[in-house]
């Protein structure tokens, strides 16, 4: 019985080597990346690191302000982008009849999804910080992030709205409920897990974003005053990613930068895990 010709055997071996080699390289890179960050970052993490602010007097580093700022930015962005994005998706799947308008909205969403964050930073820095007079504040940063995360929310919601069976809608309408009532009681609950997935993805983008916030929300790692609405509007500071950049580039405190990187890595893993769990439940 003839075996594979030497030439074909060589081809097979070469392809096999490429497949394994590439996959190993990808996984190896990730492992090395994680290993190195943990190696340099974990020693600097302590309860005090997570729960205090930088202290010049004591010479200690603490990222509590950055954590608070990050949470602020996440909540403020989601509070605006969620209704906007879900609303747009509902319009697209439930209301829109004008194909050209649908086309325009979907095209716009695509464009928004493709715009690099440095351009959002540029636009945000002018529109929100200068023209609207907000200055470099967490609020201006959050507003810029609303535009940036809008396509994520629209798309994931749209996809999950489409999975709600048409028969549910017909059932609800057949019982005499109005369209809005039908959407509120049948369609939105039916696509809840998709909306949650969209939120998690948006949170992921916000946590990972740095360029936008660096130029619209400020660099301060001091404790901000969140006690009143007015103070909230005025506060300005670094989120975790920006803090990492500040520690690494401006203060040359690499140990602190790696500890922040460790925190970010853990958050990323957590966010991916959450998205995976919700996604699995969904399917």
């Amino acid at each position: 019985m003839s075996r594979l010709s030497p030439r074909r055997r060589a081809y097979d071996m070469a392809v096999r080597a490429l497949l394994y080699g590439s996959t190993l390289l990808t996984c190896g890179l990730l492992l090395a990346l994680i290993g190195y960050i943990l190696y340099r970052g974990v020693p600097g993490i302590s309860w005090a690191f997570l729960t205090t602010a930088d202290s010049v007097l004591q010479g200690t580093v603490g990222i509590l302000p950055s954590i608070r700022n990050t949470i602020y930015v996440i909540l403020a962005s989601l509070a605006l982008v969620l209704p906007l994005g879900v609303g747009a998706a509902v319009y697209l799947t439930e209301y829109a009849r004008n194909r050209r308008l649908v086309g325009a909205i979907e095209f716009a969403t695509e464009i928004l999804a493709g715009i690099p964050s440095i351009l959002y930073a540029l636009v945000g820095a002018v529109v929100f910080c200068q023209v609207l007079g907000l200055g470099k504040t967490l609020l201006a940063g959050s507003l810029t992030l609303v535009i940036m995360t809008l396509p994520t929310i629209i798309r994931t919601t749209q996809v999950s709205l489409r999975t709600v069976p048409q028969s549910y809608r017909e059932g609800a309408l057949g019982l005499g409920s109005g369209k809005w009532h039908m959407i509120r009681t049948v369609v939105l609950p039916g696509s809840l897990s998709g909306i949650v997935t969209g939120c998690i993805l948006a949170v992921g983008r916000i946590v990972g974003e740095s360029a936008v916030l660096l130029y619209t929300a400020g660099l301060s790692t001091m404790m901000q005053d969140f006690s009143t609405i007015e103070a909230l509007m005025r506060s300005s500071g670094a989120t975790l990613t920006v803090a990492l950049y500040v520690y690494a580039k401006e203060r040359a405190d690499l140990a602190a930068a790696f500890s922040v990187a460790t925190v970010l890595l853990a958050l990323t893993a957590l966010i991916n895990l959450a998205a995976g769990l919700v996604g699995r439940k969904h399917s």
Partner: protein
Amino acid sequence: MRRRRPVETVMSAVFLLCGLVAVAFVLLITVYLVLSGLPAIRQVGLREFLFGTTWASTHATQPQFGILPLILTSIYGTAGAIVLGVPVGFFTAVYLAKAAPAPVAAVVRPAVQLLAGIPSVVYGLVGMTVLVPWVQRTFRLSAGDSLFASIIVLAVMILPSVISVSENALRAVPKEFEEASLALGATRLETYLRVSAPAARSGIATAVVLGVGRAIGEAMAILMVAGNAANMPSLFESVRFLTTGIAIELNYAAVGSLQRMALYSIGLVLFLFILLLNALLGLVLREGVDR
């Protein structure tokens, strides 16, 4: 027939408004970038701006605003990242979609997602502390911050999207094609590369275009490894990309100055690149449908 309830009218108007917001944002960004990007170009001169080889925005007496070095750096850097990242990503995708045993794929896939989720400043930090010194030592340079280091960082950063988009495309290839190839006596690996991959080519092309988009738009990670001098690009020189060209000066260019306006003009150029890519993506997807 009952009249439409007022709440219905209100809500449909609200949803319409939400839908229009996305369009409004795009218009806002476009109009703003054009309006604020044009004055500096007009002042410097389009030819001088696009093809000038010197960027010296802060020169006391004779500032120069030529962004050719930035444009070329962005193009070379992106091309380099594609050349390094796409083959690795493609073969990893083939492995995951076709060859990997289920338990292995179940570990590798989340790993790829994690790679996608890592913030760009983290890539920048590791690049700056590990890669840059390594480049400096290995190639005996005075400094390791370079186009080369940026290309490596970008190649790693585009990997996850190249992998996941190609993998999805490869999985969507009908099993019948592969069976036919095997029945003709092709090996599995021959089948993956000669039948499955060509059948998935529009998806793989999409992956490449998305990779280009990610590479050309990245700012923070390469800000930390590129050196940021506006030299004409050369592999081991300190370089400045379109993105980092904006990033490096945005925080200190005075509002209203020509320097700041020129940053908006760079933004406009970058925006045009992105629109071009979007059009390309549309073309690739349309071809996929026609087939």
